[in-house]
C-alpha cells in the first residue's frame, strides 16, 4: 500500500501532470462513488464526498488538477450525469488550489449550464447529500463573483484573453447566473413546498430535504439553496432590499435545511445581517449576528477537520467586525450574549471605544472594519474593450464603502446626544444646547436626526424603535425614556409547549413489550 502510494505520487508529481493518468485510488474512488450514487446510499456518498475526496486531493493532487473526466468516464459507464458531477468537483478543486485560466472558467460555466439543465429537466433521480448540493450553489456563485473580479482587471489582459472574452460573452453573464438560480427556485416549487409545510401538508424540513419515498432530493434542495444564492448575488450587486426578499420564504427565526449545512447557515446569516446593516435595521442585524456567533463559538470544535474550517473562522471574524459596526451605530449590548460580548470586547473593544468618538480616526476604523468584513462586491456589466483598458474591479466596493461612511457621518453627532440623555431624566433644550455647544435650532435638528436614525422602517412600512435611550420633547423640555429589557414570557411558553409535545410524541412512539 505504502509502495503503491509512493508510485502514484511519483507519477503525478514528478512526471508533471498527465490528465489521462488515472491512479488506482482514483479509479476506485469514482467506481465506488458511482455505485453509491446509483444505489442512493446517501451516507456513503457523503463519506466519500467529504472525506475521501479531500484525502485524495491532499495526497495526490495538492497542486495539480484531478485526472480529466474523459480519462475516468469509462470506469463509470460514461454516465452523463456522473461525468457532469465529476467535472463540477474537478473545477471546484482547481479553483481552490490553482488559478483557473479564462478557458477553464468558460468551461466550468458550460459544465454548470449542462448540469443545471439536466436537473431542471427532471432527468435526475439521484439522492445527494445536502452538503454537496449546497457546495454546488455556493461554488456557482463564487465562480461568478470570481469571474467578475477577473474580467474587471482589464489592464493586463492579453489580446488572446480579450478575444475569448468577446467571443464567449455569455459565459458567467449576470442574466444567465440569476436566471439559473431563479429557474431552480421556480422549477423546484420550493416556495410552495415550504408554504404547504406550514400547513402540515408536506414534509421538507423534517426530513432535511431528503426524499425517503424513492424520489430525488436534487432539484428541491438545489432550489432551496438557490434562494440563499440569490440573496448572496443581490448583496454582491448592492441590492439589499431584493436580496432579503429572495430569502423571505425561509423562516430564519427557526432551524431549517439552511442550518443543516454549516456553510449554508453562515452564508445565509452573514448576508442577511449585512443587508440589514445597510438598510439601517441594526437591531435585526445584531440579533442574527449574535445568534450565529454564539452557535459557531459552541460548535466550531466539531468542524476542525472539515475542509470548510478556515472559511468558517474567516466568516466568524468578519461577523464580529460587522457586529462591532452595528453596536457602534446602535448600542444595544443587551441583545448580545455574554460569551459573544466578551469575544467582541477582546477583538474590538478598543476599536469600538474609538469609533464612539466620531473623529477622523474613528471614520478610519469604520472604513477598516467595513472593508475587512464586507462581501466582495462586483460590477456585473461587461467591460469596454476600447483602449485604453482600465481596471474597474474596485468600483463596486468603493461605492458601497463611500455610501456606508456617508451614513456613519450622518450619525456622528448622535453618540454625543446619547451620552447626555443617559445622565438626565429631564433637561431643557437650552441647557443641552449649551452643553453640546450648538444653538437651539441645530440641537432640534440633531434630536430629530436621532429619532429618524433610531427608528427603522421595514419593507411593509412598519416603524420599530432601535433606540436604547429614547426621549420626547414637550415644548422646550426633553424627557428621557430608558428602555427596559422586555421579558418574552409568551415565546418562552410557546417553545416549552412545542418541546413538551415532542417529548410526549416520543414517549407514545416507544413500544413496550
Amino acid at each position: 500500500m505504502a509502495n503503491q502510494d509512493y508510485e502514484e505520487r511519483q507519477q503525478t508529481q514528478e512526471l508533471g501532470y498527465d490528465p489521462n493518468f488515472v491512479p488506482d485510488s482514483v479509479k476506485s474512488f469514482v467506481v465506488h462513488l458511482y455505485r453509491h450514487i446509483r444505489e442512493k446510499n446517501v451516507y456513503e456518498i457523503h463519506q466519500m464526498y467529504e472525506s475521501s475526496f479531500q484525502t485524495l486531493s491532499e495526497r495526490l493532487f495538492k497542486d495539480t488538477p484531478w485526472p480529466s473526466v474523459d480519462a475516468v468516464a469509462h470506469y463509470v459507464d460514461n454516465d452523463h450525469v456522473f461525468c457532469l458531477l465529476y467535472r463540477e468537483m474537478w473545477f471546484r478543486h482547481l479553483y481552490a488550489r490553482l488559478t483557473p485560466t479564462l478557458r477553464q472558467r468558460i468551461d466550468s460555466w458550460d459544465n454548470y449550464c449542462s448540469l443545471f439543465q439536466v436537473v431542471l429537466h427532471g432527468v435526475v433521480n439521484m439522492q445527494l447529500p445536502n452538503q454537496w448540493l449546497w457546495d454546488m450553489v455556493d461554488e456557482f456563485v463564487y465562480q461568478f463573483q470570481s469571474f467578475c473580479q477577473y474580467r474587471a482587471k482589464m489592464k493586463n489582459k492579453t489580446e488572446q484573453e480579450i478575444a475569448l472574452l468577446r467571443q464567449f460573452d455569455q459565459a458567467w453573464n449576470v442574466y444567465g447566473v440569476l436566471n439559473f438560480l431563479q429557474a431552480l427556485v421556480e422549477k423546484s416549487t420550493i416556495i410552495q413546498i415550504l408554504e404547504q409545510e406550514k400547513e402540515g401538508l408536506e414534509q421538507f424540513t423534517a426530513t432535511d430535504g431528503y426524499d425517503y419515498n424513492g424520489g430525488s432530493n436534487v432539484l428541491k434542495v438545489l432550489g432551496y439553496f438557490s434562494m440563499v444564492g440569490l440573496l448572496r448575488v443581490h448583496c454582491l450587486l448592492g441590492d439589499y432590499h431584493t436580496g432579503i426578499k429572495c430569502l423571505l420564504p425561509i423562516d430564519i427565526s427557526q432551524q431549517g435545511v439552511y442550518t443543516s449545512v454549516i456553510g449554508s447557515h453562515i452564508t445565509t446569516i452573514y448576508h442577511y445581517g449585512f443587508a440589514n446593516l445597510m438598510l439601517r435595521r441594526y437591531v435585526e442585524a445584531i440579533r442574527e449576528f449574535n445568534k450565529i456567533l454564539l452557535y459557531i463559538f459552541k460548535t466550531k470544535q466539531y468542524h476542525q477537520k472539515s475542509p470548510q474550517y478556515e472559511q468558517i473562522l474567516k466568516k466568524n471574524e468578519q461577523m464580529y467586525a460587522l457586529l462591532a459596526i452595528c453596536l457602534s451605530l446602535c448600542p444595544q449590548t443587551r441583545l448580545v450574549d455574554e460569551t459573544v460580548n466578551s469575544q467582541l470586547r477582546e477583538k474590538y473593544g478598543e476599536k469600538m471605544a474609538r469609533m464612539q468618538r466620531y473623529d477622523d480616526e474613528a471614520f478610519a476604523i469604520y472604513d477598516e472594519l467595513f472593508s475587512y468584513a464586507c462581501p466582495k462586491f462586483i460590477t456585473p456589466s461587461a467591460p469596454s474593450f476600447e483602449e485604453p483598458l482600465v481596471n474597474y474591479n474596485q468600483d463596486a466596493y468603493r461605492l458601497q464603502l463611500k455610501l456606508f461612511l456617508y451614513e456613519a457621518k450622518q450619525q456622528q453627532l448622535l453618540s454625543g446626544v446619547r451620552t447626555f440623555l443617559k445622565v438626565y431624566s429631564t433637561i431643557s433644550l437650552a441647557k443641552l444646547a449649551s452643553y453640546m455647544e450648538v444653538d437651539e435650532p441645530t440641537l432640534r435638528t440633531i434630536l430629530m436626526t436621532y429619532k429618524h436614525k433610531t427608528h427603522a422602517v421595514d419593507s411593509d412600512g412598519k416603524i420599530t424603535s432601535n433606540a436604547d435611550v429614547d426621549f420626547y420633547i414637550d415644548e422646550d423640555t426633553i424627557h428621557v425614556v430608558e428602555s427596559k429589557p422586555a421579558k418574552r414570557y409568551g415565546d418562552y411558553f410557546l417553545r416549552q409547549i412545542v418541546k413538551l409535545e415532542g417529548v410526549i410524541n416520543e414517549m407514545d412512539g416507544i413500544k413496550l413489550d
Binding site: 432590499h241 456589466s381 429614547d470 420633547i473
Partner: protein, 229 residues
C-alpha cells in the same frame, strides 16, 4: 408605501413582470414607462424601480439619466423609508457625479439629518428637478410631520412652520385640517404664540409603548396550532 392607489391594469402587468420575469432585459422599456406612470398617477413601486436600476446596472449603456432622476425623487418622497440609499447603492459613482444627482443627494442629506430649513431652501433652487414630480411637497411635508411626531408631544408653531415650510394663513388652514382630521390640538403658550399638541403615539409617549412581553406574533402562535387541535 401605503400611498399606492389601486393598481391600474397597466400597473398590474408591470408588477407581474417584476415578480415573474425580473431578470429579463426585455422588460426595460416597460419599467421605464412605469416610472413615468408613477410620476403622473402619484403611485409608487420600489420593487419595480429597483428592478429597473438593476437592469441599468447590467447594461449601463441603456441608462436614462432622466428616468434615474425621477426614481430618485420618488425615493425621496418615500422617506422615512431608506429607499433613496437603496437606489444609490445601484447607481455607479460616475453617474452620481452628474449635477442633478448631486443636488438630489444634498437634498436627501438634509432630510436624513432633520435640516428642513436648508432642505426647503435648496429645493427652491432646484425647482426644475422636483417640480417635475407631482405631490413632492406634500410627501416631504408628510415626512416632516412623521419625524416631528416621533420627537415632540408639544411643538412651538414656529418650529413646525419651518419644518413643513408653510406659514401665515396657509399654516392656519393646514392646522385647521389637522385638528379636524388627525387629532391635533392648538394651545396658547405664555407669551410665545401657539403651541401645537401632536397626537400621542408609542414613539413620543412611553406610556403607549407596547409592552413587547405581552404581544406574541401570530406566526409564533401558529406553531402550536397542530398541538391545540
Amino acid at each position: 408605501m401605503g400611498r399606492e392607489r389601486e393598481a391600474t391594469k397597466v400597473a398590474y402587468t408591470v408588477e407581474q413582470l417584476v415578480a415573474f420575469n425580473r431578470y429579463n432585459p426585455d422588460i426595460l422599456p416597460d419599467l421605464e414607462n412605469y416610472v413615468n406612470d408613477q410620476v403622473s398617477s402619484q403611485t409608487y413601486s420600489l420593487d419595480a424601480n429597483l428592478c429597473l436600476l438593476r437592469l441599468y446596472q447590467f447594461e449601463p449603456e441603456k441608462m436614462s439619466s432622466q428616468i434615474v432622476a425621477r426614481i430618485l425623487v420618488k425615493a425621496l418622497m418615500a422617506m422615512p423609508a431608506p429607499d433613496f440609499s437603496l437606489c444609490l447603492f445601484l447607481i455607479p459613482e460616475r453617474v452620481q457625479m452628474e449635477e442633478q444627482f448631486k443636488t438630489l443627494i444634498v437634498l436627501s442629506h438634509y432630510l436624513e439629518t432633520g435640516r428642513f430649513r436648508q432642505f426647503w431652501d435648496e429645493a427652491a433652487k432646484s425647482r426644475h428637478i422636483v417640480e417635475a414630480v407631482p405631490g413632492f411637497e406634500q410627501a416631504i411635508q408628510g415626512y416632516a410631520v412623521h419625524v416631528l411626531s416621533l420627537t415632540y408631544q408639544k411643538i412651538p408653531r414656529t418650529v413646525l412652520a419651518e419644518a413643513i415650510n408653510i406659514e401665515g394663513l396657509s399654516l392656519d388652514k393646514f392646522l385647521e385640517h389637522q385638528v379636524a382630521n388627525s387629532g391635533w390640538v392648538i394651545e396658547k403658550s405664555q407669551g410665545r404664540g401657539q403651541l401645537i399638541v401632536l397626537p400621542r403615539n408609542e414613539f413620543n409617549d412611553p406610556a403607549l409603548k407596547k409592552n413587547a412581553a405581552d404581544s406574541v406574533p401570530l406566526e409564533h402562535i401558529t406553531r402550536i396550532f397542530p398541538i391545540l387541535s
